[in-house]
Amino acid sequence: MTELITQLIINGFVSGARYGLVALGFALVLSVSGYIHFAHGAICLIAGYVFYSLWVQLAMPWPVAGLGTMAAGIALALFAYLAVYRQVPRKSAHGVFICALGMMIFLENSAQLFWGSESLSLRAGGQGASYLIGQAVLTDIGLATIVTAIALLAVMVCFMRATRTGRAMRAIADHRDMANVVGINVQRITIVAFVISAILAVPAAVLAGLDEGLVPHLGTELILSAVAATIIGGIGSLSGAVIGGLLIGIVQNLAAGWLPTSWMNSITFLAMFMFIAFHPSGLFGKKLTQVEV
């Protein structure tokens, strides 16, 4: 029993870290721009496919493949913001949401057209290492996911506190109009937020490609968990997004030990709905008076 619980907790940390990685980029864009950037999941997916093409098919060294992937992700993120979201009036909450959803569907179907429907993996079975914690197993990808999530969160926290751009982002998230008044270039800072979210998508995509493989509907899977993590962690809090992800991962996996495993996704959204109903500001978010989308 102890071995089972230990393994489920370790699995939970790994899943949670993956959700947190995706949620980090999503939460950043949401807090700075107010846009529910659903297409972030599809950008993660496309980043994974591009990395596969560059690293596996074209056999480029991984740093070069990584840079190429970042460039592709940034291009897509900027397209999403400049060509799609910005064209919709800010007051039209439904319009932006539908555009974001439409972009996600478009990108996922484009990925299927270009790369096909068969599962693609960055690494075949048996090529990795694993470590024992007691009798429980932590894979090398699992460890890398946890470490990457914590490291990127630390980098983002330092960035938001210690850099001018980061402080500007916090100001915009706090009060957009006032940030404008004090001379912050809201447009430029928003663009930077989209660029950073695309950069953050790359490690999430690569780790997913190494562990789970790439399938066209992976983007939807990633973004739904990221949305739940962001809400649970608190809108406006990057730490909250990652911690929310970890919580979801642990609860999901512990539940899988006893409940039918087909309930796992339901548990995620049940937790999210409970937070919306009883604690809408989430664990670390600011108290909500008006939700801007």
Partner: protein
């Protein structure tokens, strides 16, 4: 006056001549059209391209051979996304817009959803890929040209218990009609054959991360896990299981046979077993019809038999089966309806197909030899053939 009478008489004679033409010649269409509802998108889309290619090869051969007794055969392809809701829309379109008398189909949930529509619309459905046990007796208008999962599972369990000496089984299944039905079947079948059913775990059809379920299966400590999975997921499941140091013997059915299983599974896929309808005879020689198909596939699409697997062959055969049945109906000068095509298919007793001798049964199932296969050095290899008689005797 005489001239007017002459013209009238000529016109009357011409009308009588036209009316006396055989009715069949007036009713003969420019082409006979059937449907193909394939999984071109969705979670099972990896097999869609193989379905399409198998059908394309068969269609060219049929029309090169004169079509349906001189009338070309046309196929309208619709995407069903392996989703019953989309499948119903596709079925309705084929019935009400294209007016097809028959259609090929795949995916268990889609087939079960489309069957009632087929029955009330007099359209014959020929399932060449879905294997849920519930497809037997689902409808008189649904015939299955692939051994259903219960037939395959009987063979696999028999081989696992009596040859591999595995006794304790867990089941990992896809959370859809096929997975549920197969798990329920195995819950009875494994003890019936002398094994122990320890329990099961399931996964959502869109899941890509299987660690929680693998952990649960590992805690059951089975000798073997029966994977009621689809080809696109099997390799990932094997890989993640191996990386979590859970290494039972994985056994399965035809869903294993997909190029992604050894490609993604890698070392984890080596030495696992599954069943599939066999295109080789007892001596291990491929039937000539199957060899012809794989040679043609290689020529047109540049893929080896191992990369193609069985699904393309299934739909190639299904297209030929429907064409043969339609030729029988046309030769008998009967209307080309779903019911007449169904009766013709049931009459094709012991026909020589790409799998040797095959017969349809009244409950909609088909009897075909089943091969136990394994994965060795990244390739699918034959291990043991179960003949029609052996399968029926289990």
């Amino acid at each position: 006056m005489r001239r007017i009478l002459k013209i009238a008489a000529t016109a009357l004679a011409g009308g009588v001549a036209l009316a006396s033409l055989p009715a069949a010649a007036q009713d003969k269409p420019d082409a006979y059209t059937i449907g193909a509802m394939l999984q071109l998108t969705g979670t099972a889309a990896a097999s869609g391209v193989f379905q399409q290619n198998g059908i394309a090869i068969a269609l060219d051969e049929i029309n090169a051979d004169g079509g349906i007794n001189g009338t070309p055969l046309a196929i309208v392809t619709e995407d069903q996304g392996c989703n019953p809701r989309i499948g119903v829309n596709a079925m309705n379109k084929l019935v009400h817009v294209d007016h097809v008398p028959a259609s090929m189909i795949g995916c268990s949930g889609v087939s079960l959803a489309a069957a009632p529509i087929a029955e009330r619309s007099d359209v014959l459905l020929l399932n060449a890929g879905a294997v849920s046990p519930a497809l037997a007796n689902a409808s008189p208008y649904l015939l299955n040209s692939i051994p259903l999962a219960n037939q395959q599972a009987k063979v696999m369990v028999d081989y696992a218990i009596n040859t591999l000496n595995l006794k304790k089984f867990a089941v990992y299944y896809r959370n859809d009609d096929l997975g549920h039905d197969l798990n329920e079947f195995l819950e009875q079948e494994i003890p019936r054959q002398g094994g122990e059913y320890l329990g099961s775990a399931s996964y959502d059809t869109t899941a890509t991360h299987h660690a929680p379920q693998i952990t649960r299966l590992k805690a059951m400590q089975p000798d073997a896990v029966f994977a009621a999975t689809l080809g696109n997921e099997t390799g990932t499941i094997l890989k993640q299981s191996f990386e979590l140091r859970f290494t039972p013997v994985w056994v399965g059915y035809s869903g294993f046979e997909n190029s992604t299983t050894p490609r993604i599974g890698g070392e984890a896929a080596e030495g696992q077993f599954y069943t599939v309808n066999s295109s080789s005879d007892e001596s291990g020689n491929m039937y000539p019809e199957a060899k012809h198909f794989y040679d043609e596939y290689q020529k047109r699409f540049d893929k080896s038999p191992s990369a193609v697997g069985y699904i393309a062959l299934q739909y190639y055969e299904a297209t030929h089966l429907l064409a043969d049945a339609m030729r029988m109906v046309d030769s008998a000068k009967q209307p080309m309806t779903g019911d007449n095509i169904r009766k013709a298919l049931l009459k094709l007793d012991g026909f020589k197909s790409v799998y040797g001798l095959t017969s349809f049964q009244e409950n909609g199932e088909v009897l075909k030899p089943i091969m136990v296969k394994t994965i060795k050095d990244g390739k699918f290899e034959d291990v043991k053939l179960y003949t029609n008689e052996e399968v029926a005797g289990l």
